[in-house]
C-alpha cells in the first residue's frame, strides 16, 4: 500500500481509501503481479534441482523431503483447513482420509490399474469418509466432535492393520510408480518428478479452494465459523454446508494419499496414525488457519524444519512441542495470521459518513406502496396460541398476535416477560409446545431455522451477533446470497448489488471492507439491520435495536424503522424505549409473564389500566 502520492480530501478520507482498494489497480501493477507469479513458479519448480547447502537436508535427499513430508503435509493441511479454518470444527483423525486415498491407490495399482486411473477413486474414497465424518458432526459438536474424530482415525487405522485385504500390519508393498508423462520418468533415481507432480497438485488445490472460499459458499462457511446460530438465522443452511465442507475437505487427503502410495511404493498402517493427524493439525494452527497461504506455510514448516535440523534428533520432538506452546501463546492466529493481523487496517474510530436515513425518509428498498392507509392487509406473520415452556417454567403462554405488512407492531413488557423468547419462537430457535406460526399464509411451525429465514423472516439480536471476523460487506452478502439461493428474491439485482445498496442506505458503504468487529457500536447495530434486510424479508424482527443508542441515534433509528415499514415489510419491534415504541408503532402488544395482557394502538395501550399496573408504573411517563 503506497498511495500517499495523492492528497486525501479532508472530508472523506475513508471513502477515498475504500475506493482505492476496490477499484484502482494500475495497469503496470498487474503486469508486475503476473511477472512475480511467473518468477515464483519458475523458482518453485526449479527448487528440487537446486543444491544450496543452507537449505539442504542432512539425512534424506532434499528432493524427497520436498515430496514427503513437505508436499504431502501441505496438501493435507490445505484439506484439513476446510473444516478447521472455515467451518470451525477440529478434526483429530484427518490421517484416516489420507489412508483412504493411499490404500485405494495401493490396492488398485497392485492389481494392474494404471496410477492415473486410481486418482479419482482415491479422492472419492476419501471424500466418502469425509462425508461420513461430516454426518457425524451434525450430531456432536465442538470439542466432542474433535474426540469422536480421534476415535474415527484410530478405528480406520486399526481396521487396515487388522484386515488381510489391506495387508494387515505389514501393509501393501510393491506399489508401482506412475507411468512416465512425456518422457518424465517417475523413479527413485528421479525424485524431482514426484516433486513437480505434487507441486502441480498443490497449486491446483490452492486455486480451486481460493475460488471456493471467495464464492458465496465460502462466505457461508465463514459465517458458520463465526456464529453458527446467527448464520442459520440469516438463512445459511448450516447442516448441509458443514457436510459439504467435510466432504470437499477430505478430497486433498485422497489426492495426497494416492501420490504418496505411488511414490514410496510401500504403505503400512503406522504411517496413518494419530501422530500424523496431530502434525497436520499443528501445521494448520502454526501457519494460520483460515488462510491458504498460512496453511501452506504451516505445512512447509512442520514438514521441513525437523528434516533440516535432524542432527538434533533427540530434541526435535521436544523442540516441536515447545514451539507449539510458544506460538499458541504469543501468535494464537499462527505465524502468518499474526503477521497479517498486525499489518491490517487500524480499527476505525469513528464513522466516515452519517446514515442517510434520517434526512431521506423514502428508502428505495422495494417499491411497494404503503399499506397503512388502505384497508388492513392480510397479516404477514401470525402467531397463534403459542406456548413455550422450559421444564416447568412457562416462558410464553397462549400468545396470539399478527403483524401486517407495512406496519410496525411493537412488543413491550417488563424484563422476563418473554419478549426475546417470542422472537426465538418465531425464528425457530425454540420449538413451540403448542400453537402455530404462520408466515405469509404458510404454516412454518415445524420448519428449520434457515428455512424460515430464507422464507422471509429477518432478525437482529439484542446482544449483537455479527460475523466478527468478516468484513461489513461480507456480513450482508452472506444473507443476501442465502436469500438468492431461493427463487423468492424478486428484484433482478445481484446479491452483491443489493448488499452494497443496503450498506449505502444504512450509511455504512464507506466501511464496506472494514472488519465488522472494528465498527463502533451504533454502526454495528445498523449493520445488523442491513444484514436482516438483505434476506429481503417480509417480516423484520428487531430485538431492542435502540439499546445503548443516544438520542440522535434513536431519531435516526425511528426513521429507519418507519422506512422499512413503508417499503411494505411487516416489522415486529421488541423495545424498552417508550418514546421510540410510542412514536413508531402502528400497534402495541404488551406481554407480562409470558401472556398478552393488552393489545391495541399506542394510545389505547398507554391508557390501559392493566398495562399501567404491570409495566408502566402507577402513572404513565410517556
Amino acid at each position: 500500500m503506497k498511495n500517499h502520492d495523492q492528497p486525501a480530501t479532508a472530508g472523506a478520507p475513508r471513502l477515498w481509501w475504500a475506493n482505492m482498494q476496490r477499484r484502482a489497480v494500475p495497469g503496470n501493477r498487474k503486469i508486475w503481479t503476473v511477472a512475480l507469479a511467473v518468477v515464483g513458479l519458475v523458482l518453485l519448480y526449479s527448487l528440487p534441482r537446486l543444491t544450496i547447502p543452507l537449505i539442504n537436508t542432512p539425512q534424506v535427499s532434499f528432493p524427497s523431503v520436498l515430496f514427503y513430508p513437505v508436499g504431502v503435509y501441505v496438501l493435507l493441511a490445505l484439506g484439513l483447513d476446510m473444516t478447521v479454518g472455515r467451518t470451525g470444527q477440529i478434526n483429530l483423525g484427518y490421517a484416516a482420509f489420507f489412508a483412504g486415498g493411499a490404500y485405494t491407490t495401493a490396492l488398485m495399482s497392485t492389481h494392474g490399474v494404471s496410477y492415473y486411473a486410481t486418482i479419482v477413486p482415491a479422492i472419492l474414497v476419501s471424500a466418502a469418509l469425509g462425508l461420513l465424518v461430516g454426518l457425524v458432526s451434525l450430531r456432536v459438536n465442538g470439542d466432542y466432535f474433535a474426540i469422536v474424530t480421534l476415535g474415527v482415525g484410530l478405528v480406520v487405522q486399526e481396521i487396515v492393520s487388522n484386515v488381510d485385504a489391506f495387508g494387515s500390519t505389514i501393509g501393501i508393498s510393491s506399489v508401482p510408480p506412475p507411468a512416465p508423462i512425456g518422457g518424465l520418468e517417475f523413479s527413485v533415481a528421479n525424485p524431482q518428478a514426484y516433486d513437480w507432480l505434487i507441486f502441480t497438485m498443490i497449486l491446483a488445490v490452492c486455486v480451486i479452494f481460493a475460488l471456493l472460499y471467495r464464492s458465496s459458499l465460502g462466505r457461508a462457511w465463514a459465517a458458520i465459523r463465526e456464529d453458527e446460530d446467527a448464520a442459520a438465522l440469516m438463512g445459511v443452511e448450516v447442516r448441509k454446508l458443514k457436510v459439504i465442507a467435510s466432504t470437499i475437505g477430505a478430497a486433498p487427503a485422497g489426492l495426497a494419499g494416492s501420490i504418496y502410495a505411488a511414490q514410496v511404493g510401500y504403505i503400512s498402517p503406522e504411517t496413518f496414525g494419530l501422530t500424523l493427524s496431530i502434525l497436520v493439525l499443528a501445521a494448520v494452527a502454526l501457519g494460520g488457519k483460515g488462510r491458504i497461504a498460512g496453511v501452506v506455510v504451516g505445512g512447509v514448516l512442520v514438514g521441513y524444519l525437523p528434516q533440516r535440523f535432524l542432527q538434533v534428533d533427540k530434541f526435535s520432538t521436544l523442540l516441536f512441542g515447545a514451539v507449539l506452546v510458544v506460538v499458541m501463546l504469543f501468535f494464537p492466529e499462527g505465524v502468518l495470521g499474526s503477521l497479517q493481523r498486525t499489518k491490517g487496517p487500524a480499527p476505525t474510530a469513528s464513522l466516515g459518513a452519517r446514515p442517510k436515513v434520517a434526512d431521506d425518509d423514502a428508502l428505495p428498498l422495494t417499491a411497494v406502496p404503503p399499506a397503512a392507509s388502505a384497508q388492513p392487509a392480510a397479516p404477514a406473520l401470525e402467531v397463534e396460541n403459542a406456548r413455550v415452556a422450559f421444564g416447568g417454567v412457562v416462558a410464553l403462554d397462549d400468545v396470539t398476535l399478527t403483524v401486517e405488512p407495512g406496519s410496525v407492531t411493537s412488543v413491550i413488557g417488563p424484563n422476563g416477560a418473554g419478549k426475546t423468547t417470542l422472537i426465538n419462537a418465531i425464528t425457530g430457535v425454540y420449538r413451540l409446545n403448542r400453537g402455530r406460526i404462520v408466515l405469509d399464509g404458510r404454516d412454518v411451525t415445524g420448519t428449520a431455522v434457515s428455512a424460515r429465514s430464507q422464507g422471509g423472516i429477518g432478525r437482529t439480536f439484542q446482544n449483537l451477533r455479527l460475523f466478527a471476523g468478516m468484513t461489513v460487506l461480507e456480513n450482508v452478502l452472506v444473507a443476501a446470497e442465502a436469500a438468492n439461493s431461493t427463487d423468492r428474491s424478486g428484484g433482478g439485482s445481484s446479491p452483491r448489488e443489493r448488499a452494497s445498496e443496503l450498506l449505502e442506505e444504512v450509511g455504512l458503504a464507506p466501511m464496506a471492507d472494514t472488519r465488522s468487529d472494528q465498527l463502533p457500536y451504533g454502526a454495528q447495530r445498523r449493520l445488523e439491520i442491513a444484514r436482516a434486510l438483505a434476506l429481503d424479508p417480509q417480516v423484520v424482527l428487531l430485538d431492542e435495536p435502540a439499546a445503548g443508542a443516544n438520542t440522535a441515534e434513536k431519531q435516526e433509528l425511528m426513521g429507519l424503522i418507519r422506512s422499512i415499514a413503508e417499503s411494505g415489510r411487516a416489522v415486529l419491534l421488541v423495545e424498552h424505549d417508550m418514546p421510540l415504541v410510542m412514536g413508531v408503532s402502528t400497534k402495541v402488544v404488551v406481554l407480562n409473564f409470558g401472556e398478552v395482557i393488552a393489545c391495541g394502538t399506542p394510545e389505547q395501550v398507554r391508557h390501559d389500566p392493566a398495562v399501567i399496573a404491570a409495566y408502566l408504573g402507577t402513572e404513565s411517563h410517556v
Binding site: N141, G151, V155, E158, L274, A282, T317
Partner: protein, 309 residues
C-alpha cells in the same frame, strides 16, 4: 467361547482397566466442565509422576525392604507422585492456561498448546530415562487376597478398585456439598457472572488443576503397580482412552466419568475376548462413535441451563 468360560476373569480385567481410566477420565472431565477446555497435557503429567516413582524405586532398591519399610516406601512413593503431579498441573495452569483464558483463546489454540506441553513433557521423560519399556519393581509382594469365580484378586487389584472408587466418591461429594463445589458450578455455568459475585475464576482453576494433580498422581502410581512397567510415551494411549471414557459417560460430570470408564474398560475386555485382542481397541472406539451418534451427550447427561438463543 472364551468369554463365557472365563467370564469372571474378563470382567475383573475390564473393571481394573476401567479403574485406571477413572483417574484419567475424571481429570479430563473436571477441567472440561469448568473451563471448557480439552487439556491433552494431563496424561503427560501422569507420565512425569510415573518416572519420578521409577527413579525412587531405582534409588532405594525396594526389594530388600522389611514389611514396615515396604509400607513406608509405598506411602512415600504415592506421596511424592502426588506432589509432583500437583506441581506440574498447577504450574501449567498458571503459566499457560490462565494466560490463554485471559485472551479468550479459541479451542483449537488451547488444544494445540496443550499438545505442545504434552510433547515437551513426554520427550523430556524420554531423554531422562530412555525410550524403551522400563520395568518397575513393586516395593511389596503382590500376593493374592481372594478369588471370585476363578478370578484371583490380589493386593494391587483391590487397591486400584478401592482407591478409584474412593477418589471418585470424594470428588463427587466435595463438588456437590462444599461451598467450593458451588463456586465450581457457578464458574461452569457463567464465568463472568461468577466473577461478578466474588468468585475468582483463577482460584477455582488452580484448585481444580491441583485436584486433577492429586488424581493424576494416584493414577500414575496405581498404573505402575498394576502394569509394573511403563514407557515415556504411554501418555498418548492414556489420553485417548481417558478422553473416550469421559466422553462415553458424558463429559463434565463425575458419575459420567466413572460410569464411562468402567463401561469402556468392560467393552474393551469383553470385545477382546470375543473378537481377539487385536480388535480390542477398535471395539472400544467404535462403541464410542456409535454411542455418540445415538446419545450425543454421553450416557449421563450434564445438568445445564437453557440452550442459548
Amino acid at each position: 467361547m472364551r468369554l463365557f468360560t472365563e467370564f469372571p476373569s474378563y470382567t475383573l480385567a475390564g473393571l481394573l482397566i476401567g479403574a485406571v481410566y477413572v483417574f484419567l477420565a475424571l481429570g479430563y472431565s473436571l477441567v472440561y466442565r469448568v473451563l471448557k477446555l480439552v487439556d491433552l497435557s494431563y496424561s503427560a503429567a501422569l507420565t512425569v509422576s510415573m518416572f519420578v516413582a521409577l527413579a525412587l524405586a531405582g534409588r532405594w532398591s525396594p526389594a530388600k525392604l522389611s514389611t514396615s519399610g515396604a509400607i513406608l516406601f509405598t506411602l512415600a512413593t504415592v506421596a511424592v507422585s502426588v506432589v509432583v503431579c500437583v506441581a506440574v498441573r498447577v504450574l501449567l495452569q498458571m503459566a499457560m492456561f490462565q494466560p490463554l483464558r485471559r485472551r479468550n483463546a479459541p479451542s483449537l489454540v488451547v488444544v494445540i498448546a496443550s499438545l505442545g506441553v504434552y510433547y515437551v513433557l513426554q520427550e523430556a521423560m524420554g531423554l531422562w530415562k530412555g525410550q524403551d519399556l522400563i520395568n518397575y519393581t513393586l516395593p511389596f509382594t503382590n500376593s493374592s487376597l481372594f478369588s471370585v469365580g476363578g478370578a484371583s484378586v490380589n493386593i494391587v487389584d483391590l487397591a486400584l478398585l478401592v482407591v478409584a472408587g474412593a477418589a471418585a466418591a470424594t470428588v463427587g461429594v466435595w463438588l456437590r456439598r462444599s461451598s467450593f463445589g458451588k463456586s465450581v458450578t457457578a464458574v461452569a455455568q457463567d464465568p463472568i457472572a461468577a466473577q461478578l459475585n466474588g468468585i475468582s475464576v483463577n482460584v477455582v482453576a488452580n484448585t481444580l488443576f491441583a485436584v486433577t494433580g492429586v488424581l493424576g498422581g494416584l493414577g500414575a502410581v496405581l498404573y505402575l503397580f498394576y502394569f509394573t512397567n511403563t514407557s515415556y510415551d504411554v501418555g498418548l494411549g492414556l489420553a485417548v482412552n481417558g478422553l473416550i471414557a469421559a466422553l462415553l459417560g458424558g463429559m463434565g460430570n463425575v458419575s459420567g466419568a466413572v460410569v464411562g470408564s468402567f463401561v469402556f474398560g468392560l467393552v474393551e475386555s469383553y470385545g477382546g475376548a470375543v473378537f481377539g485382542a487385536t480388535w480390542q481397541n477398535v471395539i472400544g472406539y467404535a462403541a464410542l462413535v456409535v454411542l455418540l451418534l445415538v446419545a450425543p451427550s454421553g450416557l449421563i447427561r450434564e445438568q445445564r441451563g437453557f440452550a442459548r438463543a
